[in-house]
């Protein structure tokens, strides 16, 4: 059974190879090849899942050793895959949601002449992400990690004829590099500390930690912080969040793939996978929760102000990933819920993005929500699926988001002490803002009066429902959005499934679970009510009002780019300029001064070289005289 693991990765990788090298003759069938291979990968995943379910909870770890990658004395890197409950969860999410997005892309990209290439990139993305979650050591994980970075770059910049898309791709790639640097430093630290970076020896299991137990807390904190930096890059957490909004320049299925199934989940995976390192580094854990909490609010606030439907959803993703990172930072109390929220979020966020793509598809690629309005009549299927995703993400009771988010809030309170109160409060506040901005998106898009106008060429958009290949994935994802949370939570199924890998502790919450649920409901209602009061009861202006200072800041992504520009770009420019100045004056001064003085000295010295043998003879004779004098002096002394 282990041998299937490699096929999981091989299928999409084969697809990428075939599609990217096959040339134009595959244009007609390329999208089907890509979709089928993604589905094949999902089928393999399902078979393996069934196999795992048939085993005892303790035996559900499959290891497949392919070959030794770097066989150097004292440095052993293997190509080995590890399939346990954690990676299995990711495999199913990635291949399942990924396959649906493939299917959706067939319709969405129908009119794009580079569709075959697009599917090649999608397959490459899946393969890299599967490699990331299946790797049995950090070095192989790093390969997948970089593969994801590459694929995201290619996909975000897929419409590279648009300068904004090309810039966004570069931005995503560069910001990710910062995180990648963190991961590589973490791997190096690990190697110098432990002498290996395989999961088994380093991490051990949650009951019996591996080599990490012997390391000093300072070292572990360093490694953990570097891993966190890596996670921040991939998962768009503060301070490396700036690429996510711009990444919306890619085709909508790419956004769905990045936000739901791949890429941004990689950071959460990394933290949860390295749980044993974080467990032993409480300081790093605290930083993780802080990063999560800050990003949670950051994304939510940005999401409130955006009029671009995809950017609003991007802010939402940032916020929801913030929840996951917050949960992951809580330690064993939160790991399971982080992953659970990740999975449910994968369903409803994919559904929301596909819905947004469907709306854009019907609206001539218009993304400004202020120019939508009343679309529920024109796109009933999209409206229903998007609405279910909306209800799930705000945590409507009984839907997926309710279960997973509620658990995270509960776990945040269970952290205990002042931290617990603060984190719980932040999570609750985030829930309220989530309710507000998602309601806003919903109301502006599907309710109210129609606000669209003819474009510059006089074509009035004709909103229409999308083709079957697009609606079917949305319907499937809507089912997931509705039922996944409940399915996981009844009888704590998900907890029992994942506990052998991540471990779990309940913590003692200062507030009861019921209180938390009730509080969540209250803030949910408040958020929805405010949004309704603002956007449901009165017409939405087509041109955005000036708004408050906070609104304007949030529209500019809370000044993240300005911050980066002032601190990093300007700072870098100043640093460079001062270094250039130092180089020109000090370094060049020394060098040129030396050269000039040597040159000047030589110019004088060369007059001694007049070519006359007699002059040289004088020098020789004088030298001899000096030698005689020296000899006499030495004898006298």
């Amino acid at each position: 059974m282990e041998n299937l693991i490699a096929l999981l990765i091989a299928a999409p990788l084969l697809g990428a190879a075939v599609l990217l090298t096959g040339g134009r003759r595959l244009d007609a069938v390329g999208h089907w090849i890509g979709t089928i291979l993604a589905a094949v990968s999902f089928v393999f995943g399902a078979i393996l899942f069934a196999d795992l379910l048939g085993k005892n909870a303790e035996d559900r770890t499959l290891i497949q050793h392919l070959w030794t990658w770097i066989p150097v004395e004292g440095f052993q890197a293997d190509v080995t895959f590890r399939l346990d409950q954690l990676s299995m969860t990711f495999v199913l999410l990635i291949t399942g949601v990924g396959s649906l997005i493939h299917l959706y892309s067939i319709g969405y990209m129908e009119h794009d002449e580079r569709r075959r290439r697009f599917f090649g990139y999608l397959n490459l993305f899946l393969a890299a992400m599967l490699l990331l979650v299946l790797a049995d050591n950090y070095l192989l994980l790093y390969v997948g990690w970089e593969g994801v970075g590459l694929a995201s770059y290619l996909l975000i910049g897929f419409w590279q004829h648009k300068p904004s898309a090309a810039t966004a791709a570069k931005k995503a790639f560069l910001v990710n590099r910062v995180g990648d640097m963190g991961l590589s430093i973490a791997i190096m630290l690990m190697f110098t500390t432990f002498g290996t970076f395989a999961f088994g020896p380093v991490l051990g299991s949650h009951e019996k930690p591996g080599l990490v137990e012997g390391a000093s807390e300072a070292t572990l904190t360093g490694i953990a912080l570097m891993l966190l930096l890596a996670a921040c890059g991939k998962s768009a957490q503060v301070p490396l969040q700036s690429w996510l909004g711009d990444a919306m320049e890619g085709p909508t299925p790419v956004s769905a793939l990045i936000h739901a199934a791949t890429m941004v989940t990689a950071g959460v995976y990394l933290i949860v996978r390295s749980a044993n390192i974080f467990n032993l580094a409480p300081d790093a854990q605290l930083v993780v929760t802080v990063v999560g909490g800050v990003t949670l609010l950051f994304g939510a606030i940005v999401g409130c102000a955006k009029d671009d439907i995809k950017k609003a959803l991007a802010g939402s993703t940032m916020s929801q990933i913030g929840y996951m990172v917050l949960a992951a930072g809580l330690g064993p109390i939160g790991y399971v819920f982080a992953i659970m929220h990740l999975v449910t979020h994968g369903f409803f966020k994919a559904g929301l993005f596909l819905g947004a793509g469907s709306v854009m598809h019907g609206m001539n690629d218009e993304v400004d929500m202020r120019k939508y309005g009343g679309l529920r009549k024109y796109m009933p299927v999209t409206f229903v699926t998007f609405g279910l995703g909306y209800l799930a993400i705000i945590g409507f009771p009984g839907l997926s988001g309710f279960f997973s988010k509620d658990k995270i809030i509960e776990a945040a309170f269970a952290k205990g002490g002042t931290e617990g109160w603060i984190l719980g409060g932040v999570a609750l506040l985030g829930a309220a803002i989530t309710a507000f901005y998602m309601t806003r998106v919903m109301l502006m898009t599907f309710f109210g009066e129609k606000r669209w106008q003819p474009d510059a060429e006089g074509h009035e958009p004709h909103p229409h429902e999308s083709p079957k290949s697009m609606t079917i994935p949305m319907i499937v994802l809507a089912f997931g959005s509705v039922f996944a949370g409940g399915f996981f939570s009844i009888g704590d199924r998900f907890l029992h499934w994942l506990e052998p890998v991540t471990g779990h502790s309940h913590g003692d919450s200062p507030v009861s679970a019921l209180t938390v649920t009730l509080a969540t409901m209250v803030v949910l209602v408040i958020g929805v009510a405010i949004a309704y009061a603002q956007y449901g009861r009165r017409p939405v202006p087509v041109v955005a009002p000036r708004g408050s200072l906070l609104t304007r800041a949030a529209r500019r992504d809370l000044l993240q780019d300005d911050f980066n520009h002032v601190v990093l770009v300007r700072g870098g420019e100043h640093l460079t300029r001062s270094l250039v100045y130092v180089d020109h004056t000090l370094v060049d001064g020394v060098v040129n001064g030396t050269a000039a003085s040597v040159g000047g000295l030589s110019g004088r010295m060369r007059k001694l070289q007049n070519g006359y043998a007699r002059s040289y003879a004088v020098s020789m004779f004088g030298g001899a005289a000096i030698l005689v004098a020296a000899t006499l002096l030495m004898r006298a002394v």
């Binding site: 006359y612 004088v618 004779f621």
Partner: protein, 285 residues
């Protein structure tokens, strides 16, 4: 000549020196220094060479006085006799009459040379003065078996390798000198007949070249002969002298000399001028 000197010296070769030797030293030493200074300051190379030869002979006498009989003789025979003759050959080859200008052309060279020379000399004198070299062992014992025999013993025992290597050096030097001065002939030498034919073909100067001037007051080959109109012809002088630029342009000078001579003869003989106009006319040409 060496035998009596040797006898005289043997008696004085003890630790000290006799009054006679002191007398000889001060007289001959002065002459040697004067000779050395003349070597340096004479304008003509041939004079320098002669002065050097004198100094060397005096040095040979000093060698003999110091008990180095063999060296003294070698100094005279080899150095003064052979090497100085070689110098003279070269001086002749380069031009015996050429006088050097003693005017210094390199700025500061003379001052530097004087300062260096004085400083070096003072230092040497100070060194010798400091060395407390008052004890003389004398060569009586070393020369007891005969000076030449003693030298021979040392050369062929202790210094035999140096001696052999010196021989190799001499051979090398001889070969080197030949290589330096040798010129390879790249084509067959023309025979006399071929040269004559070539001269006819080129159409220039078929008969032998004219003889040089005939004034026997000088080394007459360097004086150009006069053509019938009284102008000197360079063709009459050897090509080598022409190249060296050693032709005397004596036409005017010679005529004036001749004129002066004739004037003196007239005065003595109380005779009137003979055809003075013609000479003047030719001289003015």
């Amino acid at each position: 000549m060496t035998a009596p000197l040797q006898l005289a010296a043997t008696t004085t070769l003890a630790a000290g020196t006799s009054t006679g030797e002191a007398f000889q030293f001060w007289i001959l030493g002065t002459v040697a220094v004067i000779g050395a200074l003349c070597t340096v300051f004479m304008k003509k190379a041939v004079h320098s060479a002669l002065c050097l030869a004198g100094t060397m002979i005096i040095l040979a006498v000093f060698y003999l006085a110091n008990g180095a009989y063999f060296l003294g003789v070698v100094q005279i025979v080899v150095y003064t006799g052979a090497i100085m003759m070689l110098f003279l050959f070269v001086v002749m080859l380069v031009g015996v009459t050429a006088a050097d200008s003693l005017k210094e052309t390199i700025k500061g060279q003379r001052w530097l040379a004087l300062v260096c020379g004085l400083g070096f000399g003072i230092l040497l004198f100070a060194g010798i003065g400091n060395a407390s070299l008052n004890e003389f062992n004398g060569l009586t014992q070393a020369n007891s078996g005969g000076n030449v025999e003693g030298l021979a013993t040392l050369i062929f025992t202790k210094y035999v390798f140096a001696f052999e290597i010196t021989g190799a050096l001499l051979i090398t030097a001889a070969v080197g000198a030949m290589v330096l001065t040798h010129r390879e002939r790249t084509e067959r030498a023309l025979t006399q007949r071929e040269m004559a034919e070539k001269r006819v073909r080129d159409g220039k100067h078929l008969p032998p070249l004219p003889a040089p001037g005939v004034y026997a007051r000088h080394n007459a080959v360097d004086i150009a002969g006069l053509l019938p109109d009284g102008t000197p012809s360079e063709l009459t002088v050897s090509k080598m002298l022409r190249q060296r630029g050693q032709i005397r342009d004596v036409s005017a000078e010679a005529l004036n000399d001749l004129k002066a001579l004739e004037q003196r003869a007239e005065e003595r003989l109380d005779r009137t001028e003979i055809e003075p106009a013609t000479f003047k006319r030719e001289a003015s040409k």
